[in-house]
Every structure is written in structure tokens, then in C-alpha cells.
């Protein structure tokens, strides 16, 4: 794998050359500081851009075109990383040697058409298409509770800190959705093109010069570079007493969601020690939580912890029976305290290191992981993966314990399933 970064003034071009794939993957990534009231319109915008363009007047025409390009895959996504919202346009297509000469360029042109030549007349998006997209969004918002785990995480983060981006609903908000018109969404579009930071990633087997020219030809941005805000969210001040919040749902299972704030992490702890701590505690396949809460006490089927270094957060989720709420939270607390007391072995640490090493090795086997790796490195300015693996290898037990002491259980949320099981 060979990485070249080019500063093309309006954007950075990241070329990752590898012979592992028969495909070329391209991701155009826009990002800007996140604002709660803008999330919904970002979602609507990306959905809308896939409904029609100036040249292809319907979703069907767009789909047929991508099928004709040997099943070129185009998708969009909006996600939050720390303080920013990232809007991505992803393309995956077969290299010309598996299709025909010129197919790759035609595919890039097609992606460019979607981004730069939308279905706009007099500074307004197509009214009918907007209606379709808004209707779909309404349905998605209404169906929020169907994914009980996802819903419990949203409610938990809102209890944790309703003003922090941590609690922003990436699915959007009813109120903001209602306010979107063909004109406001045009402004959203213009703002994204003119103000967002842009990075373009390309993964596959290609000639550097040729690819650079192709990208330059089809993706032109005008953007002034400004000073950037911090990516990492500020740490939350620890609560004196942890907050317990509950809500009921007409389900049989209850969902437990816990947020732990991470305070005053050093960069080293953030990128190394705490990663291992999380794998040992609840992130790995052989974690303390899995063993103690599930295997030994049969309290759940799923339980895991996940660490978000950009949010200064460690989350724990589990599906439990409501009668086991206290028992489960006590066990989780006890296991977290054990981590702080260093009640884990050298073997646990070695296993966590191996776990990390394997996932690091697997990065280069998947195009999306490769792009995520370089994207995160771009914003976090971390070392190369190879160096990080070496550093992870040297992390000591003491360092892990020290990092664990900065984990504060802040909010415990129970989405209580109150459906009568005998029915």
C-alpha cells in the first residue's frame, strides 16, 4: 500500500495505491462544524441529490445509469465525528481492465454530475423530489423506537448532556424537517459546496498522474481555507452523583445504556492506553463484561462497551430483563472498579494488544476501512498505523490503570420494557 497526499488548494487529495482490489473506491468527504439545526437539512440534501440530477431526471434513471456503468455503487452518508458533521459521497466501481476502457472516467463523471449538477431551477430544488425525500424522513423519524437499542442510546445521551453534540440526533428533528423548502435546501447545498472542508480519497490500482488529472478534471471546488475548530469535544465535568434515568417502552426486553465521561485524558491515553482498557473491559470478544455479566450470571445476550475518543466518552449497552436492572448495573460498576484497581492480568493485556493488531492488519483488506483510517489520521494527526501498533505493544498495565481512573460513570439509562411476557 502506497499513500500520497496532494494539496490541491481547495482540497486535499489522498491517493492510496494498492493492488489488492479489482475496484477503484472514491470518497468525497465534506466537513464542517456541526450545528444541531442543520443536521436534518444535510440528510435531506444528500438524499435529494440521489433522487435526480439535471441530466438524469429520476431515481430510476440514475440507477439505470449506474447499472450501465457495470454496477457502479454510489452512496452518501452523514455522520458526526466530535465537533464536526461529515458528509460523504462514496463510489465503488470495477477497474477498466474488468470492464471497458473509459468506464472509470465515465463513472467519475457520473459522480460529479450528482454532486455538481443537481436538479435545480432558479435556485430551487425540484419540489416533487423534495416531497418524496421529506416524506421518507418523516417516516424514519416516526419509526425511531423500532430500533430500541438506538433509541435508548439517543435518550441516554440526551440525559447525559442535552447541549453537547454527543446528544444530537443524527436522524434529524421534526421541527427542522418541516421548515425545509426547495429554497432552504438550495442554501444548504450552496453552503456545503462553498464553506465545507473537502478531502477526496481514492483507493485502488491506478497511475498517480492519471488519477490526479481525472479527479482535478471532474471535481472542482472553490473554497477558502479557514482556521479549524477543535475536532475533539471538550471533556464533561464529572457529576457528583451519577444520574439514573428511566423511560418505558412496550417491549419485552429492556435496554440498558450507560455513559461514562473521560476526563483529562492525555493524547497518549486517548490513542493508546484507553483503547486497550476498552477492549479488556467490554470491547473485545473475550471481555470482562461479556464473561461476568453474560457468561457467569446469564443476565443478557448482548453486552458491550464502546470507546469514542473524539467525544471523550465510553458507552456501555446491554439488553436485559427489567428485573435484573440493579444486578446488572452493580456488576458493570464492579467490573469498572476492578479495571481501576488493576484487577486484570498480563494475559488480558496481551490479548487486547493482539486484538488491536489484528484489526490494524485487517485495515488494508477493505477499502472503506482504508479510507476511514486515512480520514481519521488527517483530522486527529495521529501517527501511522504501523507506529501506532508498535506503541500499543509497549503500553503497560500501570498506564492502563491510570487511564481507567479517568473513567467516570455519569448517566445510567434504562429503556424499560413493560410488555407483559405472558402475552
Amino acid at each position: 500500500m502506497h499513500y500520497i497526499k496532494k494539496d490541491l488548494a481547495a482540497y486535499n487529495l489522498h491517493l492510496i495505491k494498492t493492488k489488492k482490489f479489482k475496484t477503484i473506491s472514491v470518497r468525497i468527504v465534506f466537513h464542517t462544524p456541526i450545528k444541531k439545526e442543520e443536521i436534518t437539512s444535510r440528510n435531506i440534501l444528500t438524499d435529494l441529490l440521489l433522487q435526480s440530477s439535471k441530466k438524469y431526471k429520476s431515481r430510476r434513471e440514475l440507477t439505470i445509469k449506474s447499472e450501465d456503468l457495470y454496477a457502479a455503487d454510489i452512496s452518501t452518508s452523514n455522520r458526526r465525528l466530535g465537533n464536526y458533521i461529515f458528509t460523504s459521497f462514496s463510489l465503488q466501481t470495477l477497474s477498466d481492465e474488468y470492464t471497458e476502457k473509459g468506464n472509470l472516467e465515465a463513472t467519475l463523471e457520473f459522480l460529479s454530475e450528482i454532486i455538481f449538477n443537481p436538479d435545480i431551477t432558479n435556485k430551487e430544488f425540484n419540489f416533487e423530489k423534495l416531497g418524496i425525500v421529506k416524506n421518507n424522513a418523516t417516516v424514519a423519524l416516526n419509526s425511531l423506537k423500532e430500533d430500541a437499542t438506538g433509541y435508548s442510546l439517543i435518550r441516554m445521551t440526551e440525559a447525559y448532556d442535552k447541549n453537547s453534540p454527543v446528544s444530537y440526533r443524527m436522524i434529524g428533528y421534526d421541527k427542522d424537517l418541516e421548515a425545509i423548502t426547495t429554497e432552504t435546501i438550495y442554501n444548504t447545498y450552496k453552503k456545503m459546496l462553498n464553506n465545507d472542508y473537502v478531502d477526496i480519497f481514492v483507493v485502488g490500482n491506478f497511475e498517480t498522474k492519471e488519477m490526479t488529472e481525472l479527479i482535478k478534471k471532474h471535481f472542482k471546488f472553490r473554497m477558502l481555507k479557514k482556521k479549524k475548530e477543535e475536532y475533539i469535544l471538550p471533556a464533561k465535568k464529572p457529576r457528583k452523583r451519577r444520574l439514573i434515568a428511566k423511560e418505558t417502552i412496550d417491549n419485552t426486553q429492556s435496554k440498558l445504556a450507560i455513559a461514562c465521561s473521560l476526563n483529562k485524558l492525555t493524547d497518549y491515553e486517548r490513542h493508546y492506553a484507553l483503547i486497550l482498557a476498552n477492549i479488556i473491559f467490554g470491547g473485545g470478544t473475550d471481555s470482562k463484561l461479556f464473561k461476568e455479566v453474560r457468561e457467569k450470571n446469564s443476565l443478557c445476550y448482548t453486552i458491550r462497551s464502546s470507546y469514542n475518543k473524539l467525544d471523550n466518552l465510553l458507552l456501555i449497552t446491554a439488553g436485559i430483563d427489567k428485573k435484573n436492572f440493579e444486578k446488572a448495573t452493580d456488576l458493570i460498576t464492579k467490573n469498572l472498579n476492578n479495571m481501576k484497581k488493576g484487577k486484570f492480568t498480563k494475559k488480558d493485556i496481551d490479548m487486547a494488544k493482539e486484538f488491536y493488531k489484528t484489526s490494524a492488519e485487517e485495515v488494508e483488506e477493505r477499502e472503506d476501512r482504508i479510507i476511514n483510517e486515512y480520514l481519521l489520521r488527517e483530522i486527529l494527526k495521529t501517527e501511522e498505523l504501523k507506529e501506532r501498533v508498535e506503541k500499543i505493544n509497549k503500553v503497560t498495565k500501570q498506564e492502563i490503570v491510570k487511564a481507567c481512573k479517568k473513567i467516570n460513570m455519569d448517566t445510567i439509562f434504562l429503556l424499560e420494557g413493560v410488555k407483559d411476557e405472558s402475552n
Binding site: 447499472e67 496481551d350 492488519e361
Partner: protein, 420 residues
């Protein structure tokens, strides 16, 4: 060891059968770091009742899935998850209607991991105590699925399509059934169906096939071929069990599920080709580039849609599940679509092109290749090395003839509405 070229995909599948009947399929990659191993038995929730040595067995529902959970219990106390974690290897297992598989995937320690995977699946250790302990965990797993409206909808549709087939039952069983499971039930299943001539191994990725085969032989050659028990045959009826049902759930937007039941005894097309043609038909009718989708989208009739085909002996079933604000109207449109089928040659050829491109893309990913090849082995008994050629040779005329043999009124429809 046989070498079979996977046509058009630049890959070779090596296969070997042990004397005891165990089959091994291997697709090595020289440019990947990772590998994936699956050790599988053709035993899943489809098997409800059987006779062995003149004795009949009918364990509680959900036993195959329960057994899968308990396979991870080892007499010597070495926890498989711990063993695999030591080399940063991921391990898991899953139970389906027609198979159970144990998998591990990683980048290191291939030989030891393969050896361990074979050993742990070869050494059942069920005790009253460890069986009891699992009941709470599996009950939570069952409840987790029951709370998902889409799952509930699918289960209702299954009950309405099938009258007798076990496909109308949840793979995991029910909370009350699994409570009845004993260690003896697990041993009976294990001894009957975890036998070499009912199992296979699939390995894909970075490994040496010669080494893999020698490890497998070393570990499993001693096992003897056994007679498979006589599984009670369950005859499914040709028509759907229940034509229509309306149910209530905790949802805001209604959902619909439609099942088309196609008896296949009188259709004279090879199984694999039949699957491809049926899939082609519904892709043309309801796929992402279909006119139906465009119209339904424009009329705000459709918020999401999911399509799938299922096979059981002598029957194939098409599932269409969708969320919609106007369920009755959408159902009418779908029925209409099924009554007025027009196949355009250009659409047919475009879908072929898409499928071929997708097969080529798929081979780049170890995970996708494993799941694709695994499904072929389960569905067709072995790998399908010439799939690309078969797709290329598909003809519109064959599809048109096939359409004449399908009764498109043989539908089962479930509406799911908001609970008041």
C-alpha cells in the same frame, strides 16, 4: 486434492473429501493477510423429528440453536473465545434453518486456530448446570428479536405461507420450549448430526491449502462415517396456508409483507438456474431500477422495501416486505404488477451485467466470498464454479416460459398496523 477454477474470477477452489465423508473447500488468496474458517453441519432448525436405531427423537424447539451456544463449553475449561482472543482472532457461531456453523477469522496463528476450531466442535461437554445457565441468555436473545417489528412481521408471514414446514417457526425456538431442553437432548442431536459425512469445512483467504488439509486429516481422519438418522419428512402444501391477516404492533408507519408461494415440482429447470431466473423476475419487477419502484416512490407509497427468495424441497417462496403509509394501495399495486408482467430484453441484459460485475467485486472481499460460497454449498450441495457462465447464458425466452408456470395468485399477505 482437486483444483477447480472459479470461472472469470481469477481464483481456484481446492476441494478434498476425507474417507469418512467430511468435505473441505479452500480458496486461498496470495494478496490478503486475513483468513476465514467455517466448520459447518447441515443441521439447523428445519430438523424437528427423526429416528435412529428404531428410536424416535423429538426434542424441544430451538434445540439446534441451543446446541450451538453450548458448543463453546469445554471440559478442559479452555474457553474458545479466550483461546482465539490470544491471537486476536475473532470467533463466532450461527444457526440457521438448514445449517449451523462455527467460524473464526483473523490474520495470525492459522494452523493452531484451525486445529482448535476442529477440536472444540468435536468435543461436546454438556452438563445439567451449564445447560441451565444458558437458558437466561437465550431467553434474552429470543426477547430481543420479538421486540423487533420487522421480525414479528416476517414470522407472521411465515406462519401464513407454510402450513407444515418448520420454516414457519423461529430458529431460536420459544422461551417456554427452550426451558425444557436437557443435556440429553443436546447429546442426541450432536451424535446424530455432528458427524463427518454431514459436515464440511470452508476456508478462504491467507493460508496454505496443503497444510490445512494435513491438519484436518490429522484431527478428523479417525472419525468414522455414520449413518444419518432418518429425518421425518414434512410435506408442505402447494397453496398458502392463510391468505390474509392484519396484525397490530408498536409502529407508527404501517408495514406489509407479501409471500408468493411457487411449487416447483412441475418446473423443468435445474435448481440453480431456477433460482437465478426467479431472482431475475423479481429484480426486474421490484428491484431498485424497476418502474414499480419509481412509481411507488413518486406516489409516496413506499418508504422501504426488502426482497428475498427462500427454497425448501419442491417449493420456493418470494418475500416482499415494505413500510408504507398506504398499505392497501401498495398491496393493490404489487398484485397488479404480478398480473401484467412484461420482460424487456434490454432490462434483462442490464441486470445480467450487474450480477456479473457484482460477482467480480465480491471475490475481492474474503467475508463476501465466504458467505456466497457457503450459501452455494448449503443450497446446491457443492460450490458453483461456473456461475458467471451460467448467468451469461440466461435467456429471456426461458424466463417467459417460466412465468407461464407460476400462479401469481398464490399469495399470502400480512398487514401490520399501529397499535392503538
Amino acid at each position: 486434492m482437486k483444483a477447480i477454477n472459479l470461472s472469470g474470477l481469477d481464483k481456484v477452489c481446492y476441494s478434498e473429501q476425507l474417507k469418512n465423508g467430511l468435505e473441505v473447500f479452500m480458496i486461498p488468496y496470495d494478496n490478503k493477510k486475513n483468513y476465514f474458517i467455517s466448520f459447518a453441519t447441515r443441521f439447523g432448525s428445519d430438523i424437528l423429528e427423526w429416528t435412529k436405531n428404531h428410536k424416535s427423537f423429538k426434542p424441544p424447539l430451538g434445540v439446534a440453536h441451543f446446541l450451538e451456544h453450548k458448543m463453546f463449553e469445554q471440559e478442559d475449561g479452555i474457553d474458545p473465545f479466550t483461546f482465539f482472543s490470544e491471537s486476536g482472532t475473532d470467533a463466532n457461531a450461527s444457526t440457521s434453518f438448514d445449517n449451523t456453523q462455527y467460524i473464526c477469522s483473523g490474520t495470525k496463528n492459522f494452523n493452531e486456530n484451525l486445529k482448535f476450531l476442529l477440536r472444540f466442535v468435536n468435543n461436546p461437554y454438556y452438563t445439567e448446570q451449564n445447560v441451565e445457565k444458558e437458558k437466561g441468555i437465550i431467553a434474552e436473545e429470543i426477547k430481543m428479536y420479538e421486540d423487533i417489528p420487522d421480525f414479528k412481521l416476517e414470522m407472521h408471514l411465515r406462519e401464513n405461507i407454510y402450513k407444515n414446514s418448520p420454516r414457519r417457526l423461529d430458529i431460536a425456538g420459544t422461551v417456554s420450549e427452550i426451558k425444557k431442553i436437557t443435556k440429553d437432548d443436546l447429546y442426541s442431536c450432536y451424535e446424530s448430526f455432528y458427524i463427518p459425512n454431514n459436515m464440511f469445512i470452508l476456508i478462504v483467504g491467507n493460508f496454505d491449502p496443503d497444510m490445512a488439509v494435513s491438519i484436518i486429516k490429522n484431527e478428523l481422519d479417525y472419525k468414522e462415517r455414520k449413518e444419518l438418522p432418518k429425518v421425518k419428512e414434512i410435506k408442505e402444501i402447494k397453496t398458502v396456508n392463510v391468505k390474509e391477516e392484519t396484525i397490530k404492533a408498536n409502529i407508527e408507519t404501517p408495514k406489509i409483507a407479501i409471500g408468493l408461494k411457487v411449487p416447483t415440482k412441475d418446473i423443468d429447470i435445474e435448481d440453480l438456474e431456477l433460482d437465478l431466473y426467479l431472482n431475475m423476475l423479481t429484480t426486474i419487477l421490484f428491484g431498485s431500477s424497476s418502474e414499480f419502484r419509481e412509481n411507488a416512490r413518486t406516489d409516496k407509497l413506499l418508504n422501504s422495501i426488502y426482497l428475498e427468495w427462500e427454497s425448501i424441497p419442491d417449493t420456493k417462496v418470494f418475500y416482499l416486505m415494505a413500510s408504507t403509509q398506504k398499505p392497501d394501495l401498495l398491496i393493490d399495486k404489487i398484485k397488479e404488477e404480478l398480473k401484467n408482467i412484461n420482460i424487456s430484453e434490454s432490462t434483462f441484459n442490464r441486470i445480467k451485467k450487474v450480477w456479473i460485475a457484482n460477482e467480480v467485486k465480491m471475490i475481492d472481499s474474503i467475508d463476501a466470498t465466504v458467505s456466497n460460497v457457503f450459501d452455494d454449498i448449503i443450497r446446491y450441495g457443492t460450490i458453483v464454479p461456473k456461475k458467471l457462465d451460467i448467468i451469461r447464458k440466461m435467456k429471456v425466452s426461458i424466463l417467459e416460459d417460466l412465468i407461464k408456470n407460476i400462479n401469481f395468485d398464490n399469495l399470502s399477505i400480512v398487514k401490520m398496523l399501529k397499535k392503538k
